[in-house]
Symmetry: C2
Subunit: 262 residues, 2 copies
């Protein structure tokens, strides 16, 4: 599985670092692994569903942990959503994390005709959910755009419900279907590949999420590895639909194997 590779797509949370309310901590060997990928001449793009911060804020946090990463190397859902909002003249009601709001600075938000939901964390209050619901149910045909559809993720203080759970709540209440931006949407992986200029057959996705990282990337024709860090659980290895091209203990091990094949 490690042959004829020209580019790597890396998930971030659970692969580079474990996130937490304290900011998070790098996963052993990952800082060095990113450096080794860059030194090898392989193309590299970070492909994240992170929506708790702007890319600028997110990159700063990772740089502070020692990672060699820049904003241009990050493919994230909010900028992808902004492109869609502009194309379709949609004016969003935002149910997102406070720190993500600046990504939507250029977007007209008056008199909303859609709802954009991200991982709003503490902003997922009863009042905010009722308000987003009322905006949706007031439309003839509710338009709900969801920045990812993750079930849950792990922080240093425990598991947290991810945006997908709240997306399902609103879908059910409005009898509508959300449009998902971010992994595992095919268009999202394709835009990350386009940034690297590498075709899917020559790229490997490395992630901790069996469905959104591994399944999504494979649907695009990429190979995909699951790391045994982050939200990985042993029962993922019996997933009924998705089988990674390989398991690796962590990013460092994946990079060892890939670089040996170059």
């Amino acid at each position: 599985w490690a042959r004829a590779v020209r580019g790597l797509l890396l998930d971030v949370s659970g692969v580079l670092y474990d996130s937490g309310s304290d900011g998070g901590v790098p996963i052993a060997g990952s800082v060095e692994a990113v450096r080794r990928i860059k030194a090898s001449g392989l193309k590299l793009q970070f492909c994240t569903n992170e929506t708790q911060a702007t890319r600028e804020g997110f990159v700063k946090k990772l740089q502070a942990m020692g990672f060699d990463i820049s904003v241009a190397e990050v493919t994230a859902p909010a900028p992808a959503a902004c492109r869609i909002l502009k194309e379709r003249s949609l004016r969003p009601h935002l149910l997102v994390h406070n720190d993500l709001v600046p990504e939507f600075a250029e977007i007209d938000k008056t008199n909303p005709n859609c709802v954009v939901i991200g991982d709003a964390a503490e902003n997922f209050t009863y009042a905010n959910l009722n308000e987003a619901f009322r905006v949706l149910i007031g439309m003839e045909k509710p338009v709900l755009i969801s920045l990812g559809k993750g079930r849950y993720y792990k922080e240093t203080d425990g598991l947290k419900l991810d945006v997908g759970a709240y997306m399902k709540a609103l879908e059910y209440a409005c009898d509508a279907q959300a449009e998902v931006v971010g992994k595992p949407a095919k268009m999202f992986f394709e835009s990350a590949l386009a940034e690297m200029g590498v075709p899917p057959q020559q790229a490997i996705m490395i992630g901790d999420d069996i469905v959104n990282d591994v399944g999504g990337a494979q649907q695009c024709g990429m190979r995909a590895l699951q790391v045994r860090t982050g939200k990985y659980r042993p029962c993922d290895e019996n997933h009924p639909h998705v089988k990674p091209d390989a398991y690796v203990n962590n990013l460092a091990e994946a990079v060892d194997i890939i670089l040996q094949q170059l």
Copy 2:
């Protein structure tokens, strides 16, 4: 449809009264209609999905509005859930309204092996939802018991997400299916009929919810009327799957017609 009737099942919110943060107001003619049913010798049971209060609290509120109602006449989800918990030796983690907690006083809640979710309203916080999720995901096979599966309801200050939306969020996050106690579950209607000692063929359900009241009762072999009060909307009359045995403007009109046939 009004012939050979021996018992009536009445939904409460939207049939007897309109609820609201101010407590609510009786629907015109309903107080008198309940009295006339009782005077007629028909059996009567109130069949509600109310989970924001104990039956005692709920009955007191209705009595204060002038209704002739007692706790023994009310079939509600929480006591039905308690029977299930006892039968199956389940110890619940509760995600319910504070005012409902006393219904579970007799139930062992140490070291939970299931989650019970009701219309928790202000208790649907980010922290409480994460906590319920962690209890579920920690089980080999998550057991989630939901007190109803309504999408939303109307209060005097606007529409609110109902328990069904939060049930869907947890179902998705845990990849599990909730067991629904309350309407439209067949067992729930059957236990209300058993309280009256009337077979379904001789009973009529009167409610404002086309799916949970009318559809659920018909599935049990009862006749069912939809009132044009409460959450009734004209588009309910074009429902793709459910057709009531009759529409009535309100409870008073239903009682007029039924008593004429006796």
